[in-house]
């Protein structure tokens, strides 16, 4: 697949990738994460034979977020200790109202995969089977991830918008 072809794939899925990037890495690092994911995907051996390039890009982005979260643990912990910041505050650079901060922190408690499931199901209104296809896992896994995400969010999100 030449540059023109993968560029067309990116164009078609840019909004989804960007939204996932913002949710998984925060607005400040979203562009980096998306660029890394595109690079990783188009540089992989599988890319020429991938049947659904858009789904593969999304899967690569989620996998990169999982990898980055894992591998930077120690560095982030050191930074967090010295700065006394939450190590999962992906949105620390974004100006926030207090209510928005609560929402951002609540979403930050999700794993990248859980976040991707929540985004695709609630924002793009995909069925769980379709979410499973997009993320390359079984519907059962998606149901489990969504259930865990909801159980976590119900304890983290404000009780109602009026209370914000």
């Amino acid at each position: 697949m030449d540059q023109q072809e993968w560029a067309a794939v990116y164009d078609a899925h840019a909004e989804r990738l960007h939204h996932l990037g913002v949710l998984l890495a925060g607005p400040a690092d979203a562009h980096d994460l998306v660029a890394d994911a595109v690079l990783r995907a188009i540089g992989s051996r599988q890319w020429p034979t991938v049947e659904s390039p858009g789904a593969y890009l999304a899967q690569t982005l989620v996998q990169l977020a999982e990898d980055g979260r894992r591998r930077s643990t120690r560095r982030r912990l050191r930074e967090a200790r010295s700065a006394r910041l939450s190590p999962v505050d992906r949105f620390s650079s974004a100006p926030d109202t207090e209510a928005a901060l609560v929402v951002r922190r609540a979403l930050s408690t999700l794993s990248p995969t859980q976040m991707a499931v929540v985004y695709l199901h609630y924002w793009e209104d995909l069925t769980l089977d379709r979410v499973a296809t997009e993320l390359g896992v079984t519907p059962g896994t998606i149901r489990k991830q969504l259930d865990r995400a909801k159980r976590r969010l119900r304890t983290q999100l404000p009780q109602s918008p009026e209370e914000d």
Binding site: H31, F91, S111, T138, T141, L157
Partner: protein
Amino acid sequence: MPTLDDHIRSALTTVLADAPAPLTTAELIDRPTLIDLRTAITDDRPHRRTWLVAVNLAAAAALLVAIIVPTRRSEPQPTGSDDNASYLVPDSLPKGWVLLDVDESLPTATAIGLPGQGARVVFERADPPARFEVSTVRQARGSYEPANSRPLSLRDGEGSFDSVSSTDHKGWTFDFVRDGFVVSGQGWGEDDLAFMAETISVDDAGVVQFDPATGFTEVGRRLLGVAPLTRYHLRYGPSPTVLPPREPLAEVLLITVTRWADNVDPRFEAGAFDAMTLVDGRVAALSERGATWSPAPTVLAQVDFIDSDARTDAETMVDLMNSLVTIDRPAFDDLIAGIAAGVSASGSWPVPLPAGPVRLDRIGRGMQAWLCITPPSVPRRCRFVSFGYLGTGWTERADDIEILESDPVVIAFADYWYLIDQPVDGQPPYNVAAVGARTTGGPFRVFVVPSTQDSIERRDSDGYSYTVNRPTR
């Protein structure tokens, strides 16, 4: 009233509303990081190939062992004596893989709670297929508010119901308060299962009862606060001689074997959503990265590929299950003694202790290291240094990981067990009243705990507690 689904959509709107515009294709192509990374990856091709080979070894492992020993299998025969017990281990490993760690710590109870404080029950229906897992926890206070979204027609004040549906499958979750217990359920089935919430009652012990007329039959149940008899974890992965030390392990094969006092059933242990299949007449739960089955009536075995990029198919998992063999305790001890063999020490310190001096060694470096204790005239024992997310999953809240950083290493010898960790500013303190002696070895703290003490605890100012259990061997 806004539902949880509404809250989630609102939260996404909040976060995405002010997001900057996506990169255009032109910006993406011209992005310096992309150019830098492209160059870096091009320059690093040989390493990447090696790395990819290492990362994909786990899937190959199962295939290899299946080819080498396609018909070998022996089932563990639990006995009353630990010394004579049998242990389940892989018969062969892929090239470059080693046994990293054996954990024989005291198993904890099935869930946080005390006997009589709640229970878990699984029931299923064959036709049309459906399965439910329901947990109960005694309501501590009267303040519980069910958080699911769609109100359910239950008795007054009894909570809510929420459904998740898709094209071909339906997953059902509910939670409500009944008879003094918080009842949380999740289920799977093709048809409308909302009625199941209505059929459930809870007895004084927190055990769920349901109406047999629904067509469901019970798979199993277990009270909270019940611990298994024994449990051990075997962790396999690429040798540090294969991986660069700065990297955490990209992939780990974790084998967990648990012995219960009563018969076990994978249909119960694997949960509501996992796919069940028959393997040689035995029920097994298979997933993309693992399998759960019962090789003997009271033994539950689980294999999981942790942090795996490569997913495994059902056939591979079945082959892996079949490739496990049983060995006796002396052979198991030999395996443990071989942990970290051939890996260079990166530090060695004498540790003066009241019961006599021991030597503390750090074997390996970075995120692939062991801590080993060698008492006089006794073979050393080594434990792999874990960083919290390995084996326990990265879904743990990160602020918990901040407390933990790396898990403390525990090693048992005769009358004492040792807890070794690296002090970190702001860590909550251990319950030192349970500790017999405390000293240091190089950068590490060494706590000596009498074997009569089954665990020690640390608790932070917010009430979060972390318990370290005594190793049994």
